[in-house]
Every structure is written in C-alpha cells, then in structure tokens.
Subunit: 342 residues, 2 copies
Amino acid sequence: MENKTTIHDIAKALKIDASTVSRALNNSPRVSQKTKARILAKANEMGYQRNVLASNLRKSVTNTIGVIVPRISRHFFSSVISGIEEAAYDAGYNVIICQSLEQLKRERKIIETLLANRVAGVLLSVSMETVEFDHLLNMKNNGTPFLFFDRHCEIEGISSVLIDDLQGGFEATEHLILNGCKNIGHFSGPQELAIYRNRTAGYRKALEKHKIPFRPELILRSSLMENDGAEGAKTLLSLPYDIDGLFSANDVAAIGAMKYFKKEGIRVPENVAIVGFSNEPVSGIIDPSLTTIDQPGFQIGQIATKLLLDEISNSSKDNIIIGKTTIQKSSLIERDSSRRIT
Amino acid sequence: MENKTTIHDIAKALKIDASTVSRALNNSPRVSQKTKARILAKANEMGYQRNVLASNLRKSVTNTIGVIVPRISRHFFSSVISGIEEAAYDAGYNVIICQSLEQLKRERKIIETLLANRVAGVLLSVSMETVEFDHLLNMKNNGTPFLFFDRHCEIEGISSVLIDDLQGGFEATEHLILNGCKNIGHFSGPQELAIYRNRTAGYRKALEKHKIPFRPELILRSSLMENDGAEGAKTLLSLPYDIDGLFSANDVAAIGAMKYFKKEGIRVPENVAIVGFSNEPVSGIIDPSLTTIDQPGFQIGQIATKLLLDEISNSSKDNIIIGKTTIQKSSLIERDSSRRIT
DNA sequence: ACTCAAAATACAATCGATTGTATTATTGAA
DNA sequence: TTCAATAATACAATCGATTGTATTTTGAGT
C-alpha cells in the first residue's frame, strides 16, 4: 500500500551503496552510464519517488515560494497568480498561495507559517490593514528574500513590481475631463497604501493640467467595497456641486456607485460618467459597461517571480541586494460608462 | 542575518541535551516546569523557529494538504478554498492551492508534485479533461488520502462532497416551466463529469413531471465558456422550435447566451427566460440579473476538509475506508432573467 | 605482468528534530 | 539513614537524501 521506496531500498536490491543511487538519480558524472541505467530501471520498477522533505533538509533549501494576496477571488490577483505559477513552474519551483483577506492579523500568521516552512522566498501584496511592518522586517532579518507586487511598503532593500498608478489615475481622470466632466468625484482607499495615494495624485495632476479647481471634499476614502461605492455616490450627490464624473480607485466601488446612480434615476454616462480601476471581468458585462484601467496581472506575476528567483539564487552570494522598483504600464479601456456625445 | 537557531544551539547555550529541548518545546511531561521555562525563554531570546522540514521528516507526516481546482478565479471555487483554508487552519494544517486550468496534463503534474512533497492528503475537483483516472488510482495506491468535491470520479473507496446537481437542474428547469416556458434549451458540459450528467437528468425529470416532450437536439454540450454560450444561443435560434427558455449548466455560458440574445434584439426574459448555475457574482450585476442555482461553496470546503482530516488520522489505523458521498443542498436564486408576467 | 592515474564506487558524516532506552537525581517511606 | 520508586535528564538511533573523503576497480602505457 504505502509507497515508501527509498534510495536504500534500491541500493539493497542492487547490492550497491545508497550514495551511488543518489548520485545516479541526480545524474552525477561520478556514476558510470551502466550502473545509472540499472539504478534508473530499478527505481522505476520499485516506484521510487524522491522524498523532497529529506532532500531539502539535507540541501537546506526548498523549492517552494510563498505568495500572499489579499483575496484570490479578485481577477487581478488571480491573473498575477497564474503568471507566478507559470514562471515558478518553469524554474522547478512550487507555489503556496495564501490569502490575507485584507487582515493584518492573518498576514502576520501566514508569514510566520511560511517562514516555519522555510520557503525559498515570498511574493506579496499587502493587506489594506498593513500599516505596521514588524512582520515584514522580521522576514527581512530572517534572511528570506521577498518582493512586493502591486501593493508595497517602503522597506529598504526590498524590491517591488508595481504598475504606474499615478499615470493610471491621470489617464482615467483626463479621460473624464476630455469627455466634458467638470466636477469629478474620486473614491480612494486607505492612504497608507501607495497605490491609492498615487492614483489620487494622478487625479490631481489631471485636474491641474486642465485647470480644474481641486476640491478635497470630492475625495472619499473607504475600503472600496461595493457598499462603499453606493455610500460614496450618495455622499457625492449630497454635496453642493453638480457632480458629472467619477474616478473610482477600483471597479467594485465604481459598480456600487453605478448601481446607486441607476436606482436614483441618474443616468450613466449622460449625467455622471464613471471610470474604474483594475478591469474586473464584470466591468465588461455590466450595463453600461465600465471604462477602467487594465493592469497586466499575468506579466506582473511573471516578472515578480523572475526577480524573486534571481534574488534567491544571489542571496547565497551575500552581495547586498538593492531594492529596485519595476514599473509596468497600465492602459485605459474605454467603454460605455464614460462615452459621451460631446 | 540568517536565522538558523536549532535545538542544538539552545541545548549548548543551556548546557543540556537537545532531546530535552525538543521535549520541552513540545511540552512533554518528561521535562520539569523549571527547565521548560528556561528553554522557552532561551528559545525566544535566540529567535528559534522549529524547522518543519526536519520535524516532518522524522515524524514522517506533514501538516500540509493539497487542493486542486480547475481555476481559482471562479467564485464557487474561491469560496470552497476559503472554507478549506478555514477548516485546515483550525486543525493546524497548511494548504497548497493549485489550478489545473481544466487540463488533464496539468492535473497529472500537480498530483505528482504534491505526492513528491508528501502532502498529508488532497482535495480535488477534477478538470473537464479528466476522463482517465490512472493518476488518481496511482495516488490511491500510494496511500495518500484524498477526496473529491463538486466534480468527482467514480473510484472505489474515495469519498466525495457534492451538491445535489439533479435537484438543482430540476429546480432550475421547473422554475422555467412555472414561468410559462414550453421549449427549453439546455447547455451542458462534458458528459464524463457527473455534475453535468446530473444537471441534465434534473432537466429531463422536470420536463417529464410537467409532461413536456423531451427533445435531445435542445441539449447542447460544450466547455461552457462565454463564447460557447453565444454559439449555443445562435444554434438554439436556428432550430425549428420557438425557444422560450434556457437552462445553462453554468452562469458563464448563460451570460454568453444572454449577450447574444440582446445583440439579436431578443428580449430576456420576455422572449427567452434564462436560468444559470453557480451564482457567480456577476450574475447579480448583469442586466437583467441572472436567475441561478447557488452552491454553498464555503461549507462544501469546510465539510470536505473535515472529512479528509478524518481520513488522514484514520488511515494509519489501516481500517478500510469506505467511500462516502455527502450531498449538500443547492438553492434557486430567483432574479430578473426568468421573472415573467404569466 | 606491472604501475599509476583516472574512473567508479563505498564509507561516513550531516541536515534538524524526534523518540525509545539508559542513566542520574530526587523524594517519600521504612 | 537507606532503598526503592519515580521524576528528570542524557545518550544514541533514526527519518531519507546528500556530499566530502576514502577506497577499490579499471584500463592505458611500458
């Protein structure tokens, strides 16, 4: 029943030493072709499978990298994960996927577990609650290479693969302006996260460029869930401005707002034009379809993995690793929610 | 830099034996309270972290379970995963999540990797291509406990946690009939998968009950992607029947059809009423909102995990495990795509 | 046939934790 | 005080694979 053939079993069966078996299975030049063939045949016959635990223990390495995302159900993150899996798989690494569910507590626990399991490295996109970095600094001191993607923290020596959120925010907002919007509301997320600060900065930059006065009260901060979008829409309508545009820092909140507007009889895009962020699949399906900023998730995953694997292989050579930031381009996808006859 | 305090380091620092340190850290009654306290304090001071690899190797167990789903991006599967994580976490297990992307080749490779990593058990929902079971039988012979959820294969001695697809298909179809549909099309998936056979059986059962003639040509089989839905809709319209209802075995294809109907100026639900399956979040957002069958993903994940953990702990006692099938109820969510003034 | 370098294989330690057995320390009862 | 019983700790083997070193085997050249 239980499959537990070891190299010792093979060695015994062939009356040779286990070290030779090990070397043969690792295709070492120290074993003659003849015995290699015998060993391989025997291993196959006995259904041998290397015990990765033992192997890794001895080599004191692992071929596993950990990935932490806020939620796997978000399209952007599942694209990134696919990219990571692809790149990791090619390099012979396994991937452990974990979700923090936006909770700092869970993020801490996950990192603890990953470190205990001696993963070779970690790719992470921090939770919305991650305002303290002790667990990340701990991981750094521990010597485990890691790398941020999308949502990062400023930690010296740690690299990030990001998208150009400022540019994305700028394009989204300018697009609204070019479609005739004058009073543009903006939904943003926790300001601790650079992605949201940058999207907001892009918003401001577009206003400035087009000489539209900036009004702080038009920026609403929340967790950007669907309900936050609806609340935000309500708040915007209650302000003494004739809101005619909305740039939401994610699609989910944009959709919440769109639904609220619809319910209140306010037409999209005629009365209010909307642009979201992330290009969730639902955005192409909702009516009117939502203009949004597409992020190349798959590529981000691939790039981040390659960089991490580089760091893993260099970390042994104890040369100082300097945190680098790689920026990926985002692109505006124009759909019906912002298309106006001007 | 590198954190590699071992029990031997602690032992040396305290001038005691490593075995005592090990026992103290495992809270064995064989160590006095006094030394336990000293050891714990020292371990803490030295930043000790148990090397799970070594520990598991010695105990020849692992605290990791593997999960294989077709795609993590599907809402149903990500709910199941959340349930699995919750239950596994409570029991002190880690979870490795893998996606087969509906490819048999990848499924095989994943199982190989999981076995090589000596996971304690595996939870899986097979790919659409899984018509051969050699890799699963291999896993069984290997002695690794596993369990199907949602999509299963008939393998003796292997348990499954399923939803009542027949009942779901029945309810969906009967709902259409009660809303006045007479000529109901049906999108189904690969017939190798029981879930699709059962949903189809439910469809037939509802027709029979209401004495509506069954026409095989109204059943269209595909991979149920969005595009398949559009194609299917086109095919249905080309048939010499006045199609007025559609039961799709998943939401994605239902939405594909809905979009096609809209484009062709056919009104939903007035001309064709539609019911999907799975309750993807997009179904509540699309216009008209899609009536569908909700599956309790989170609970399925929890239940499946508990059953698997049971099998893992019993498997050592080598009592014969008899495959059990646990059925979870699904429920119809009535929305606009099927609501008609009758 | 004989030497010697190169090739092939064997020996033995190791990775870090666990655990059965042996030894030492302690305590209570006689 | 002394001895047995028990508590506390130490010793040593083990999990399965890897790897540096030592030994044996092979084969070329004389």
